[in-house]
Amino acid sequence: GAGVSQSPSNKVTEKGKDVELRCDPISGHTALYWYRQSLGQGLEFLIYFQGNSAPDKSGLPSDRFSAERTGGSVSTLTIQRTQQEDSAVYLCASRPWSAAGSQLHNEQFFGPGTRLTVL
């Protein structure tokens, strides 16, 4: 597609349930990022995938959070045993292959987000 797409756009779940959020990056983009935006917390980094390299998981808030990227394209963010504090908008971004001459280009493009509400 023309841009990053995410599904579902909204998800309401009960505390303790597992949820899966999906991200389709821009075709050809090699890097994929997950962020979340909570009320009063701003935009927080969660995880970063680059090609076949081991992902940077340093932003995942707990071991209830995990993410996969299959075939270097689509990514799924899974939250197990959801808690009310997990309520947030989860944003996915992708970036094209970076090298452009001697410049390293890190322009990230964001999807519309998934609004997660945990009751």
Binding site: Y33, L43, F45, L104, N106, E107, G113
Partner: protein
């Protein structure tokens, strides 16, 4: 990680007014982005501006990487400019990695 501070946190303007939004960084940056988050929550790319000045219609941006700041100028503001403006940059030592975001500037433009 790098610290990003944006000012002002809130800005209220009459349609037609000009404004300047500022982004300060705790370290020099190799690249920087400005975003507009519209009322539906979508982050729209405004500028990718590691250094220098760029212009796009009524908007322009200037980054002075060595002095650790960037400015976003909005001229002849319109109601559709309302929303939250974010700047973001990666750590200098991790140029291709995650972005660190400021808290944003909430802009409200009244007709």
């Amino acid at each position: 990680g790098i610290q990003v501070e944006q000012s002002p946190p809130d800005l209220i303007l009459q349609e037609g007014a000009n404004s300047t939004l500022r982004c300060n960084f705790s370290d020099s940056v190799n690249n920087l982005q400005w975003f507009h988050q519209n009322p539906w929550g979508q982050l729209i790319n405004l500028f990718y501006i590691p250094s220098g000045t760029k212009q796009n219609g009524r908007l322009s941006a200037t980054t002075v990487a060595t002095e650790r700041y960037s400015l976003l100028y909005i001229s002849s503001s319109q109601t559709t400019d309302s929303g939250v403006y974010f700047c973001a940059a990666p750590d200098r030592g991790s140029t291709l990695g995650r972005l660190y975001f400021g808290r944003g500037t909430q802009l409200t433009v009244w007709p």
